[in-house]
């Protein structure tokens, strides 16, 4: 009996310490469809049980939310594409090519991986202001606005840069695991390194690219601090800053609407998470491979 009893005890213990997570998510789902909630119980305006409603989702008919969603989508897609492109190229070079300074660049990228980029946030503000002064590129581009301060392109560029140490390191790890035979043969046949990368290597590390892509997309979709700090003229730059501006409004807020907007932001991430957990675990553990 001992062993089995112990297992049940462990599960009960795990449920208990996980309660805040479970309750938090339950609360979001329930209050999304209620006028108000007392704890987890939906109530109507007089405080009696009931009061289920769809009115919290009215914000979906508001134009702002779709502008914000569109911005967030551009940010996520731009970030994903940028991270994959830059880290795949750099990761390949670091894994497969020998050149002077390779080792220093490798140690540099590892050091950046450990370095908390958040401390540079204030200085990046100055860099972005300088980029703003460059004509056209600074803030005269369609859709993304440019690459300077207070533009979508600017926050995409910063997000890519901050994501790079992880991306490059991860990509290098995946390239390291691909066998050399085909590549050697192609090289001897006079194939260029770029074609080798594109036609031979990349198809072999699709799972790695998928993992990094999903992770970057979720990062972009969820990111708050960078848009909040660098797109200051509109508090409604991305879904995250939009939600934050609702959350910190001094007027009495409608909890149901807040929860609904929260769920709206959470859903894509949750769906991604449920279907791609195995890949994502790769990312979280892959970043520190070899250190244990």
């Amino acid at each position: 009996m001992g062993e089995k009893f112990f297992k049940y005890l462990t599960i009960i213990f795990l449920i208990l310490i996980s309660l805040p997570i479970i309750l938090g998510f339950l609360w979001i789902f329930i209050s999304t469809f209620s006028i108000r909630t007392f704890g987890l119980v939906p109530v109507d305006s007089t405080g009696h049980i009931g009061g289920l409603t769809f009115s919290n989702w009215k914000f979906l008919f508001d134009k702002t939310v779709w502008i914000v969603t569109f911005n967030t989508l551009i940010l996520s897609i731009g970030l994903t594409a940028g991270v994959i492109f830059v880290s795949a190229l750099a990761g390949y070079a670091l894994s497969r090519m020998n050149f002077p300074g390779r080792k220093s660049i490798l140690s540099l990228s590892l050091m950046l991986h450990a370095f908390p980029s958040i401390t540079l946030l204030i200085a990046i503000y100055f860099v972005l202001r300088w980029i703003s002064k460059i004509p056209v590129i600074g803030n005269g581009l369609p859709v993304i606005g440019g690459f300077g301060y207070d533009t979508l392109g600017g926050i995409i560029l910063v997000s890519i840069a901050l994501q790079l140490p992880l991306g490059v390191w991860l990509m290098k790890g995946f390239f390291d695991n691909v066998s050399w035979d085909m590549e050697m043969a192609a090289l001897i046949d006079g194939c260029s390194r770029f074609r080798i990368l594109w036609q031979i290597i990349l198809p072999q590390i699709k799972p790695g690219i998928a993992a990094l892509a999903i992770f970057s997309f979720i990062q972009g979709w969820s990111s708050f601090l960078i848009p909040y700090s660098f797109m200051t003229s509109a508090s409604t730059a991305t879904v995250a800053t939009f939600l934050n501006s609702l959350l910190s409004e001094s007027a009495p807020v409608n909890y149901g609407t807040l929860a609904a907007v929260g769920l709206f932001q959470l859903l894509p991430v949750l769906i991604f998470f449920i279907f791609t957990q195995k890949y994502l675990l790769n990312i979280f553990s892959g970043g520190v491979k070899g250190s244990s």
């Binding site: 795990l14 704890g39 450990a114 979720i218 969820s222 700090s229 939600l243 994502l280 250190s291």
Partner: protein
Amino acid sequence: MGKLMDRLKALLKLHFIVPFLFLVVVFYFIPVIITFLISFTNMSSFTGFSNWHWVGLKNYVFILKNPETAQHFWITVKYVICTLIFFNVGLAFVLAIATTHISQRWGYFFRSLWLLPRITPVVVYIMMWQFLVADAPYGVINQLVIKPLGLQPQNWLAVFPFLMIVLINGFVGASFGMIIFTSAIESIPKEIMNAALIDGATIFQRIRYIIVPYLKWPLLFVLTYQTLSLLTSFEQILILTNGEFGTEVWALWAYHKALSNYWGNFQWGFGMALSAILVIVGVIFSIVYMKFFKFNELVKKPKVETL
């Protein structure tokens, strides 16, 4: 100098690595230099970008003399130590052991559950906590735990602000250690575990004599790595309390001084000095990781020597 130029030219020929180097220079190197340069000036929104002066170490002296410094310093130390011990290492270790000693499906379930806070958008995550601890009759904890026990319901965020910032960061931070410890526990040779089981070792003996010695390096790694992340992270605190109720940690202090405060008076010089200190700490830690965690073994030479 000539040699350096040659190396630079050789690097630029490697167009594969150019985008990476470009972004690293623009968003890491230049910012580090800016941080240090501006920390030696009195630049603020008052002086503007044209009217500032070099002031030497004045900002650093001001940090030393400022009565607020001690307060922000200790809250940071307390916050980092508490979160590390109880959550990022402590709870992570407990979770890893618990989820590897139940059936695989349950273990997988709980590990995914604990990953959720990490992937949940941070604003949504903080909002969840705010309503968990909100005053009665709305707050979930008040309604489900405090009231049935007959205690006085309260807005727990205002009562225990410090506990709250530790909790919200701890629930995110625990998953990092959990994953690393789990894979380390799973890589312990089966024979050793079986031998211990046959000898009738209790679970606590197994933890003490097998798991902990095997996990020495991962434990050390998570401990140092998470120290650095905690020292410099402030996003959750910014949204939850915005530094009120005595929760203004060092990194948030720097952020407020330089980029975001109510009075619109941005003290860039002073803020940069505050973050320069964090940059120095960050660089020292990163170098230690490289030396300590045997970086050279990770760097194998590529087989193809030609470019």
